[in-house]
Amino acid sequence: MAEAKAERGAKAERPLSPHLQVYRLEINMVMSIIHRITGSALYFGTVIVACVLVAVATGAGTYDHVTGLLSTWLGQLVLLGYTWALLHHLAGGLRHFIWDTGHGFDLKTIDLLSWATLAFSVTGTLLVWGYALFYAGGAAP
């Protein structure tokens, strides 16, 4: 019984149930994956937020040290990514609030909401960093 099963499993070309690598990429699916990735990134990024708050509470020396690290090009890159992740996850969450009401499940609206999520996060990031770089004139957070 076990033998026959193993042989069958090895030889037969069985149809696969649809999964991630079989589906054609849809914007809805990409946004869903990115929602999870940005959520996870924000999770670990909270270490930075906690570090800044602890640094403010500790004193000027520590604060200058932490903001100094965040002012390097790598620090700025991380903060840029964090801004986008935050705005994207926020927009994705709002999209899910709409779906939670049971509305917006026709294909057209799904696509529209998915693209809107991306548009919101990219535009928002550009606005925040545009303000930070050109109006506030600084580099540190």
């Binding site: 509470a57 969450g93 004139g137 600084g138």
Partner: protein, 126 residues
């Protein structure tokens, strides 16, 4: 034929005895985070390039410290729930799963406590 007992139907809490608790808390903290994140972004932008004394004075204001406190707490709860789902989706070994779910709670509580403690210290002096 149904195997559900009448009591189970009344409670409607499912096999994990939690009902929609996880889902609902995720949504409530998510809604709070959306509002509080907008505040936090504006706060961060207003403090660009500010020195330590200025940042400390600003964060000590009640109307700044309070929403910031709420954000830290709400975000910690939200991220703990979210990461728990990720762990449960991808980690199938029972031992590793339990260990990671507990580590996830430790992490979320540590981040939340660090944030809350810092804000309180900034606000109340020292």
């Amino acid at each position: 034929m149904t195997m559900r007992t009448p009591l189970k139907n009344v409670r409607y809490l499912g096999s994990a005895k939690e009902g929609t608790d996880h889902f609902w808390k995720q949504r409530v903290t998510g809604a709070a985070n959306a509002l509080l994140a907008a505040f936090a972004i504006c706060l961060a932008l207003s403090l660009i390039g500010a020195d330590h004394a200025t940042v400390k004075t600003t964060l000590a204001k009640p109307l700044v410290a309070l929403p910031l406190l709420l954000f830290v707490v709400s975000a910690s709860v939200h991220m703990r729930l979210g990461m728990q789902v990720v762990i449960e989706d991808y980690v199938h070994g029972e031992g590793a799963k339990i260990a990671l779910v507990v580590a996830n709670t430790f992490f979320a509580v540590a981040i939340g406590a660090a944030g809350v403690f810092s804000i309180l210290k900034i606000a109340f002096g020292g």
